[in-house]
């Protein structure tokens, strides 16, 4: 019996593999391009043959799928906007004319979160689509060391928002014991994480901090728990070094960023274990372009621009050159040491190309403000408010402190915040106000921390012209960014 290979032996062998998919994660760039082109041709043909929307869109642009001879022909495919998708949905409810088949061919219906206040997009997935959704999460989970022996806790509401459904299924696919943490209070979730000996926790960055606050209030020692990995998604904050450092400190665990969207059903990038300050694009399943939002021309490595996504996963709703409005900076795979040949988005999702606010002539990005605020561990929650006072715009930062911070320390924080915010914004003076304990909103899904109360007609356009696209300040973490002990800012500030 000595030569019999048991299932356990196989499990150990598989678990020691460095990559979820070594064949494509380490594929030479020219071969990766060839693989993408082969898949692109198929998806374009599929969309042309099956989707009334794409048939019309292609015809208007004078494009035919048989024109895809080389990778450069990708630019012939017309860009798709969210508004076009939404208009199609509104014009031919409930799903519009993007789908390649009707709902009878689908097994899942999910929507966007609706946190933006806009009408949610509705998305359909077939059996294979849904299996693929989990597969993309497996790339990310495996890359950060999640294995069959882990216990994964999913701090998520399990509703029609697609959120962490794919992660849940990805954990199961890897063989991890998976705990769905839906329909519970934050306190109940914290207790379950500890009671069930969870080793991996998944949530938004904001909610990871909220869980940690609740643990402190309950007297639960999270850093002393068995959690070794926190998987972040749903907000750009997962790649803000100061936010991630705070999460890692409060959890005593490593935190890794991922990003996805309902429009593709899953994630398209993940941060590898080495935490190189960015996230690998899953390039065997996606083509990711970074375009100048004004000219639609592709930008070179290192230039901030709009992320445009082509997905090879979802058969029910083909996605070709979708304008995401995400602001990103792509860097070559050599910026990381993971051995993968996949390019990265440095600093993850830097924000939205349209979330820059112009205040008295100065660009303000919410991400930059958050990176400064998170440097103060005494700040539990915050909100940014833009108002018009007479003819002058004002920007107010409301901060809520953890209980017990005295007036002396508050005045130090106040002065430091004012100075750092001004330094990061060309001298723009922020009004900083202390909010009452528990008065600011808390978030479980996507946090909304900026309210613009200025009269609409007087608010300058916020879409970033191509010539002024700049990455938000303090968003280019150094290699190793995310080490919990590396960036804490002490009381001396």
């Amino acid at each position: 019996m000595a030569d019999v290979v048991t299932a356990r032996d196989e499990e150990v062998h598989v678990s020691s593999a460095e990559f979820w998919n070594p064949k494509t994660e380490t594929l030479a760039r020219e071969d990766l391009r060839a693989l993408q082109l082969a898949k692109l041709r198929y998806v374009a043909q599929w969309a042309e043959a099956r989707s009334p929307f794409y048939r019309r869109s292609f015809a208007r642009a004078g494009f035919r799928s048989d024109q895809l001879k080389t990778f450069r022909d990708l630019a012939r495919i017309p860009l798709l906007t969210r508004d076009e998708w939404m208009n199609s949905q509104l014009g031919r409810p409930p799903f519009g004319e993007l789908p390649a088949a009707g709902p009878a061919a689908a097994i899942r219906l999910h929507t966007t979160s609706g946190t933006s206040g806009r009408t949610p997009l509705r998305a359909l997935d077939s059996r294979k689509d849904w299996c693929w959704t989990a597969e993309m999460w497996c790339y990310a989970l495996w890359a950060v060391g999640v294995r069959a022996g882990d216990i994964g806790y999913v701090g998520f509401g399990y509703g029609s928002f697609i959120g962490f459904w794919g992660l849940h299924n990805g954990l199961e696919k890897i063989g991890a014991l998976t705990v769905p943490g839906g329909a519970q209070t934050t306190a109940q979730r914290v207790r379950q994480i500890v009671d069930f000996d969870a080793t991996v926790v998944a949530s938004t960055p904001t909610y990871a901090l909220r869980l940690a606050q609740e643990a402190r209030a309950l007297g639960i020692d999270l850093p002393g728990s068995k959690v070794h990995t926190v998987i972040l998604s749903g907000e750009p904050a997962g790649s803000i070094p100061e936010t991630k450092a705070l999460i890692e400190e409060h959890w005593g665990a490593k935190a890794y960023d991922t990003a996805g969207m309902t429009e593709i059903s899953t994630i398209f990038m993940f941060e590898p274990k080495e935490q190189p300050g960015g996230c690998h694009v899953i390039e065997d399943h996606f083509i990711e372009e970074v375009l100048d939002p004004a000219t639609d021309e592709e930008l070179p490595y290192g230039e901030p621009g709009e992320r445009v996504c082509t997905s090879f996963g979802r058969s029910m709703i083909p996605l070709l050159r979708y304008r995401t409005a995400d602001l990103v900076v792509k860097v070559p795979h050599t910026a990381a040491t993971s051995g993968r040949t996949w390019d990265l988005y440095q600093g993850g999702i830097l924000g939205r190309v349209d979330d820059m606010k112009l205040v008295r002539g100065t660009n303000v990005y919410p991400r930059t403000v958050e990176s400064i605020v998170r440097g103060f561990p005494e700040i539990e929650e915050f909100q940014i408010e833009l108002v018009r006072a007479d003819i002058r715009d004002e920007i107010i930062l409301h901060v809520e402190l953890v209980p017990g911070v005295g007036e002396t320390r508050w005045m130090q924080i106040y002065a430091s915040l004012r100075r750092e915010l001004a330094d990061a914004h060309e001298g723009l003076q922020f009004r900083v106000e202390r909010a009452d304990e528990g008065s600011l909103p808390r978030f479980e899904l996507k946090a909304r921390r900026l309210t613009d109360r200025r009269p609409a007609s007087a608010v300058p356009a916020t879409t970033v012209p191509a010539t002024t696209v700049t990455a938000p300040a303090t968003t280019a973490p150094a290699p190793g960014a995310g080490d919990a002990d590396a960036r804490r800012r002490g009381d001396s500030r």
Partner: protein, 68 residues
Amino acid sequence: MSTDLLGRALTAEEQRVADLYEELKSLLSDSSGLPPCAVANLRSALASVAVTVADLGIAYEHLIDYGC
């Protein structure tokens, strides 16, 4: 199929995966003699194997017409 999407010869293990994929498609292309329990589970199996062949660059196609 004997080569992957890049035109490279399949390994012996990849060939077995490719054969399994084709067999599942063949089964589901005419499943009239199979009970619902078999059809549903074979569709789930085909979905998983289809993701496998796409991951490995062996084949790539959508399978809505197979109920996947």
